[in-house]
């Protein structure tokens, strides 16, 4: 009987596969990425290396010495005390304590201050509190501390915002009106992000993290790129991290452009150039996990996409690794066997600059 190795499905379920089955799934996932993104396959050596990582007997694996990369945390300040279905662990602690724990105990190389609502728009009415907290954190910390939130353009649509919901308009075949609504929302979103960051920079922030750009489609990306551009002009030394929401930029509008490029339908390696052009320092590409496929399939696919993003990007790539992204299963607290293997593969094969 052939030796079987322990893997996981994309939903986290335990799975046993032979080496031949692992190779077949790796190649199938790789081929899917290569086909969708019109990008090259991995080499046979890289496939072999992936097999080696997946089949390592240790429960947890790490990168080879000398290949360590920086790790950046989003929402980390509230990961300690958060207990509302947001992957927090529910330990009473202030945001300052959360940030300092990440800096001094968990080895985070940069940190982020985020509000519990974690979108830019709801930070507006509590801006004074955010500024005060940023100042206190900066007085107590050494690692770069960014302010971060999700652009989340959906909050500008009814019932949360002033503009008619494009989803409703679209279903009524009011396509032009839906597009107008997105364009108006994008302008407001850009304005709000810039307004918030002007104040956070005045409070000592080292920079900004755009978390989950494109969650509301191409309009979300459009607004974020313009906000990045504006912030770069206003604060030449600001550190800007631009992380994506998903692998494919959904065309909710379909015709929005940045720098002459249509945003809808861009894959990670194509997103990288625009993020750099807008003025970001770091690009955070995402590849989504398919819960119905094995971790071998997902990892083969994710590494293929991210390797090309790293190759095409003119700025460092800090790949998103966590629940349901980067070849990691969709579990609220992803298992260490899957997280460490996927992370090792991203560093050693895709060549990411950070996580």
């Amino acid at each position: 009987m052939a030796t079987e190795y322990k893997l996981r499905m994309g939903d986290g379920k335990r799975l046993f596969m032979t080496k031949e089955q692992i190779v077949a799934d790796l190649k199938e996932g790789m081929a899917d990425a290569a086909d969708l993104g019109d990008i090259p396959d991995l080499s046979e050596d890289e496939i072999d290396k992936l097999v080696e990582i997946i089949t390592m007997p240790s429960r947890m694996v790490g990168v080879e010495q000398g290949m360590e990369v920086p790790v950046t945390h989003d929402i980390g300040t509230i990961r300690i005390d958060g207990d509302q279905g947001n992957s927090g662990v529910g330990i009473p602690a202030s945001r300052l304590v959360g940030a300092m724990m990440h800096e001094r105990a968990f080895g985070a190389d940069t940190m982020e201050l985020g509000h519990i609502d974690y979108s830019y728009k709801p930070a507006k009415p509590v801006i004074a509190q955010e500024m005060q907290t940023m100042e206190v954190c900066q007085q107590n910390m050494i690692v770069p501390l960014l302010y971060g939130a999700m652009p989340n353009m959906g909050l500008y649509y009814t019932p949360d915002g002033p503009f008619e919901n494009p989803g409703d308009l679209m279903k009524a075949f009011k396509i032009d009106e839906a597009r107008e609504s997105m364009e108006h929302s994008a302008k407001h979103l850009t304005r709000d992000i810039v307004w918030i960051m002007q104040r956070m920079m005045a409070s000592g922030s080292d920079g900004v993290n755009f978390d989950t750009i494109g969650a509301a489609g191409d309009g979300d990306m459009y607004a974020s790129l313009h906000a990045i551009e504006s912030l770069r002009k206003q604060f030449p030394d600001i550190y800007i991290e631009a992380g994506m929401a998903g692998e494919l930029l959904l065309g909710m509008h379909g015709e929005l452009e940045y720098d002459g490029t249509v945003l809808a339908g861009l894959w990670p390696h194509q997103q990288a150039a625009l993020v750099a052009k807008a003025g970001a320092n770091v690009f955070g590409p995402v590849v989504n996990t398919n819960t119905s496929k094995s971790s071998a399939w997902n990892l083969g696919r994710a590494v293929t996409f991210i390797k090309q993003a790293v190759k095409d990007s003119t700025i460092p790539c800090h790949v998103n690794m966590g629940m349901g992204v980067g070849g990691i299963p969709m579990l609220e607290t992803p298992t260490v066997d899957a997280v460490s293997r996927a992370s090792k593969a991203m560093v050693e094969i895709a060549g990411v600059d950070g996580i």
Partner: protein, 214 residues
């Protein structure tokens, strides 16, 4: 022009998402004596299937899907007078779709509704953060064949299970298929709570709805 070439022209017109091109192609096909049912099935519907494939591959997007669906609707309307009564307006099935109570995520669910509608289903999108009883009431009111339950948070997934239990309690479960979706939902979760299917994305939602209802 052969019938096959005509079907290709109809299909291409749908993929172009241009109503004028679709209407012109339908007129031409009708003039060539092709039966309306074939114009729809082998030309227009084939084109919509191609639109679905291009959507899945990130080559066409929601507005394009809607424009193509609008163009198809106009094309079908043009053929209505040649068709038996009610044949043109026949829907594939009735689906109630919404995001469960406590969960305000809207966009993914709306894309699913739009794709199902474009594929020919009668869709009643009852919104987001929907009280669970509203799903039951709407299914009764519309005599729906399927209910779609979206949840984007691990804390609201339970709502999908609760709706299934409520359907059972009211003796409605056998007559209604249940589809679940949303980021934390999985095939295993769907099996565990007794849903009829799980859809990974909007295109898969259409495919599975067709499998279950047609």
């Amino acid at each position: 022009m052969s019938n096959e070439e005509m079907f290709k022209q109809l299909s291409d017109a749908i993929v172009s998402c241009k109503k004028d091109a679709v209407l012109a192609a339908v007129e031409k096909a009708r003039d060539e004596g092709i039966p309306p049912a074939e114009i729809i099935e082998k030309g227009l519907a084939a084109g919509m299937n191609e639109v679905g494939v291009l959507f899945e591959r990130g080559k066409l997007f929601l507005p394009h899907v809607m424009m193509a669906a609008g163009a198809m609707e106009a094309g079908v309307a043009l053929l209505e007078e040649d068709m038996p009564k009610d044949a043109a307006s026949k829907k594939l099935g009735i689906i109630v779709n919404g995001t469960v109570e406590g969960d305000v995520h809207d966009i993914g669910k709306s894309i699913v509704s739009t794709m199902l509608q474009s594929a020919g289903f009668e869709v009643h999108d009852i919104g987001r953060d929907v009280p669970l009883q509203d799903f039951i009431d709407k299914v009764k009111e519309t005599n729906a064949d399927m209910v779609g339950l979206s949840a984007l948070m691990t804390t609201t997934l339970q709502g999908q299970k609760d709706v299934i239990e409520m359907l059972k309690e009211q003796g409605m479960r056998d007559g209604v298929k249940v589809m679940v979706g949303g980021a934390p939902a999985t095939e295993a979760w769907a099996n565990k709570i007794g849903a009829d299917c799980y859809a990974e994305n909007a295109s898969e939602a259409v495919t599975k709805a067709k499998e279950l209802l047609l």
